[in-house]
C-alpha cells in the first residue's frame, strides 16, 4: 500500500487533517463544514464555474477569495468559509446568476429540490439588481423523457460534463456566446438523431429546473413523493435507485450520489424504463383457458384448478413428469420458494431457471 501523506489546515478556526490531494471543499466537508456549490458534482472533475463555493484564504497580511471546489488544500492553509467578505461575495454571485434566471419557482418542477432556490433562500436574495428577462424556454424535442428549458439554465456545465466525463457520449455542449449561451445538442438536432442515449444523467445532475424528467412534469412536488429505495430490475449490475411514488403511482425514478454500486448513475432502462409497471397490458386477474379462450377467474378458482391438476398428474404419471421454471427476474425469496415447491411439494428435482438464456 502506498501511504498518502497527510496535511493539516485551518478551516473556520478548526484544524483539519486530510490526505494530500484533497480540495478545500473536501477538507471542510470532512469535518462537517458545508460550503455551498452549484456546479459541483462529486462524480465530475472540479469546474469552478459558478463561484458560489468561494472561500477566503489568508495570504500573508492580506486575504484572497478562491474557489474551494478546485483548489487543493495545502499544509498550513488558513481558510474562512463564513467571513463577511465571503458572504457578501456569495450574495453578489447569486444575484448575478439570478439576473438571467426566471422568477417562476411557483410553477417550476424543481421547486423544493432546487439548489439555486435553496441558496437564494439561505442568503436572502429576493431580487437581482441586474435582472433581465431570460431568453429561451422549453426546447422542442420529440423525446418523451427528457425536457430541457434553456431559460432556467445557469451554465454550470454539469450536464455537458456528465455526458462527456462519465457517459462519454458527447451529445451536448455549450452553444453561442454571452447572454445567448446555452447548452444543447449540435445544430439543435432532436436528441434521437444525436449520440444521446437518453440515459438522463444530465437530468440527474442538473441543480436547477433546466433539465427534468418530462413524464413527471406536473405529476407532483418533490415533498409529495414517497421515495422508496430499491434495486433496479433490469440487468445484473444491481443499481440502487429510488421509486418516486405519489398516490399508488411510480412517477419517476432517481438515484443518489454515493449509492452502491452505481454512485447515482442510471442507464436509460433503469431511469426511464418504468412505464411497464402501470401499463394497461398488465395481467390483473387470474385467467383460466376454457375452449381455447382465456376467462377471468378468482384466485380461489385458479389455485384450486392448478392444485388439482398438478396433484392429478403427479398421481397418474409420477412427480418426475412435472417441472418448475423459476426466473432470474424474480427475487431470491421467490426463487427459494419455487425451488422448495418443486422439491418439497411436488417431490421433483426438475427445477431450473433462465440463467442459460
Amino acid at each position: 500500500m502506498v501511504m498518502v501523506p497527510k496535511i493539516k489546515l485551518n478551516v473556520d478556526g478548526k484544524i483539519v487533517e486530510v490526505n494530500k490531494g484533497k480540495t478545500i471543499l473536501q477538507a471542510a466537508s470532512s469535518i462537517g463544514i458545508r460550503i455551498p456549490t452549484l456546479c459541483h458534482d462529486p462524480r465530475l472533475e472540479p469546474f469552478a464555474a459558478c463561484r458560489v463555493c468561494m472561500v477566503e484564504i489568508e495570504r500573508g497580511k492580506t486575504t484572497a477569495l478562491i474557489t474551494s471546489c478546485n483548489t487543493e488544500a495545502t499544509d498550513g492553509m488558513v481558510i474562512r468559509t463564513d467571513s463577511e467578505k465571503v458572504l457578501k461575495t456569495r450574495k453578489m454571485v447569486l444575484e448575478l446568476i439570478l439576473s438571467d434566471h426566471p422568477r417562476d419557482c411557483m410553477t417550476c418542477e424543481k421547486c423544493g429540490s432546487c439548489t439555486l432556490q435553496d441558496l437564494a433562500y439561505a442568503y436572502g436574495v429576493r431580487e437581482s439588481r441586474f435582472f433581465e428577462e431570460p431568453d429561451g424556454g422549453v426546447v422542442e424535442d420529440s423525446n418523451p423523457v427528457i425536457q430541457q428549458d434553456t431559460s432556467k439554465c445557469i451554465l454550470c456545465g454539469r450536464c455537458v460534463r456528465i455526458c462527456d466525463e462519465v457517459q462519454q457520449d458527447y451529445a451536448i455542449d455549450f452553444k453561442n456566446r454571452g447572454f445567448d449561451t446555452e447548452t444543447g445538442t449540435p445544430f439543435d438536432k432532436q436528441r434521437r438523431e444525436t449520440t444521446c442515449v437518453l440515459c438522463g444523467q444530465c437530468v440527474s445532475t442538473c441543480p436547477v429546473g433546466s433539465l427534468v424528467e418530462k413524464q413527471a412534469v406536473g405529476k407532483g412536488r418533490e415533498w409529495e413523493f414517497k421515495q422508496v429505495k430499491t434495486t433496479c430490475a433490469y440487468c445484473g449490475v444491481g443499481c440502487t435507485m429510488y421509486l418516486n411514488v405519489k398516490g399508488n403511482r411510480v412517477v419517476k425514478v432517481t438515484s443518489k450520489v454515493g449509492s452502491i454500486p452505481n454512485d447515482g448513475n442510471l442507464c436509460v432502462k433503469g431511469r426511464f424504463g418504468y412505464d411497464f409497471i402501470h401499463h394497461p397490458d398488465r395481467l390483473k386477474h387470474p385467467l383460466i383457458k376454457k375452449n381455447g379462450k382465456f376467462e377471468e377467474a378468482t384466485w380461489d378458482e385458479a389455485l384450486s384448478l392448478v392444485a388439482s391438476k398438478l396433484g392429478g398428474i403427479k398421481t397418474k404419471y409420477g412427480h418426475d413428469n412435472i417441472g418448475v421454471f423459476s426466473s432470474s427476474r424474480c427475487t431470491n425469496e421467490d426463487n427459494y420458494l419455487a425451488m422448495k415447491f418443486a422439491r418439497a411439494t411436488i417431490g421433483t428435482n426438475n427445477v431450473d431457471q433462465c440463467a442459460r438464456t
Partner: protein
Amino acid sequence: MSFGSGSMTNSIGEIKDCKLIFLIGGNPTEAHPIVGLEMKKALRKGCTFIVADPRRIWFAQHAKLYLPVKPGTDNWLLNAIAHVIIAEGLENKEFIKTRTEGFEELKAFVKDITPEKASEFTGIPAEDIRQAARLYAKSEKSALFYTLGITEHTCGTDNVRTIANLALLTGHIGKPSTGVNPIRGQNNVQGATDMGCLPDRMHGYQYLSDAAVVEKFEKAWGVKLTKTPGATSPTMFERMNKGKFKALYVIGEDPVMSEPNQEYTIRGLKNLEFLVVQDIFMSETAKYADVILPATSFAEKDGTFTNTERRVQRVRKAISPIGNTKPDWQIICELSTRMGYKMDYPSPKEVWDEIASLAPMFAGINYARIESNGIQWPCLDTKHPGTKFLHEGKFTRGLGKFFVLPYRAPAESPDKEYPLLLSTGRTLYHYNAGTMTRRSAGIIHKTNECFVEVNEEDAKELGIFDGEMVRVATRRGEITAHAEVSEKVKKGVIWIPMHFVEAAVNKLTKDAYDNITQTAEYKVCGAKIEKLN
C-alpha cells in the same frame, strides 16, 4: 471448476483501478451500462483495453488492441495466448508452483497452438495475439471480463476454463482489480442459481449428492427428498417434444422468446397436459397456458436481488399490487398449502431468514444488515463483513486447476446453403424479450424495430442497402428485419438483437447446448440473407 466457484472474483468498485482490462465476448456499454461507466472511468485513468469481439463495439473503438475474433473460435485465441505466455517466459512461476495444478499438461498441450495456427481459425493477425499475451501478462493489475459471448456456445464451459487458464498462468487473480469476471446479464440471475433453482443442488451450492445436505433439508422441511438430479430446461423440452413430460409451472420466464429454436419450444409446450404461467404480462409463453396467475412487478413487492458482484440487495415495495395481482412468493405459498405442503410466511423477511439458516454462505446476511447497503456473499456469520473479492490466498477448491481443452467446432457452422454466421445479443435500449422495455415510451422512442447488422462488404456482394428490409433465414425459420450495413460487424458475420417478438431471433437459433451447463448456442449458427423482392 478452475477455481471452485462461479461468479465475479472482483467487485464493481474495483473496476476503475484496473490497469488492464481484457474484455472478451461482452458489450458492457449496452448490456451492463453502469459497469460500462466504471470501465470508462478506468479508460480515462489510462487503463489499457484489449477487446476480443466479432463486433466493433464501443470499447473496441477505444481499445489499445482490438481482436475481431470469428464467433466460435475463442478457444484458439485463448490457447494461443497461453502458448505465447509460456513460450516467452511471461508466466508467474511462483504462483503456478504454489497455487495451481496441471501446468505441465497445459504446457505440453499449447506447445503446438501457435499464434499463426490460431490466426487461421480466428481471423486475427498472429502478431496481435502475441501482443495481447504480452500486454495481459505484463500488466500489474489485469482483469478479464466476459459475458454471454463466451458462454453461449456448445463449448461455453470450455471457453470459461480456457479464460481461467490465463489468470492461473499469470497469477492475475485474488487481488484488488485483478481477476476473472463474468458479468451477469439479468437482475437476479446470480440469485436464481444461488437459490438452488438447479436440478442437482439446493441453495447455497449444496449438492444433493452429499448425504449430509439431504439430511439437513429433510429435517428442516419435514419431507423426504428425491436424491437423483432432476432435468434441466433443455432436457424438459426434449421430453416435452417426445410427449414424455406432462406439466410445467413457469414463473416469470418466457421460454418461447428466450429459448433457441422457437418452433421446437412451442411444440413442446403444446404437448403438455397442463401449463401454468405466472407473469406480469401476457407473454408469448402465457398464450399456451391453461392457467395464468397474475404476479406483481418488482415495484409491488419486498425481497432481495443478488447482483453480479454477489451483493444481496433489498427490493422494496413502493406501491400496492396493481389489480388483483399477488407477489410470486405469496402465490407459491398459497398453491403449496393447497397441495398439502404448508408454506406460511408473514413476509419475505421470514423466507430470507430460512434461506440464511440453511446455507452457510448466506448465514450472516439478514434484512437488518442490508438495510442501507447490500452484503456480498460468502458471509458466514453476522459479524462477517462479506467478501469483496474471491480467491485471495486460496481457491475455493484448494489449488487452481489448469484445463487442457482442444477446440471443438460449433454445432452448426456456415456452409454453402447458409453462408453467413448468425450471432445474437442484447442492445442498450431493450431488455431480453422486450415485455417491459417495449412498453416504455422513452425507450421505444429511440429504437423499436428489429435490425440485422451486416458487414458492408457482404452487403455489397448481396446487393443490400443500409436500411433495407431483408429476410434472414436459417434451417429453423425466417424473420424479416431492416439491414444495418456498416463495418461494425466482422465480414461473414451477421448480428441480430433478441428483443422483438415480431422478428423473434430465436426462430432462427439452433437448439444445441453446452455439454456441461446446457447453455444454448445463441452465438453461432449458419444463416442467409435475401432481399425481400
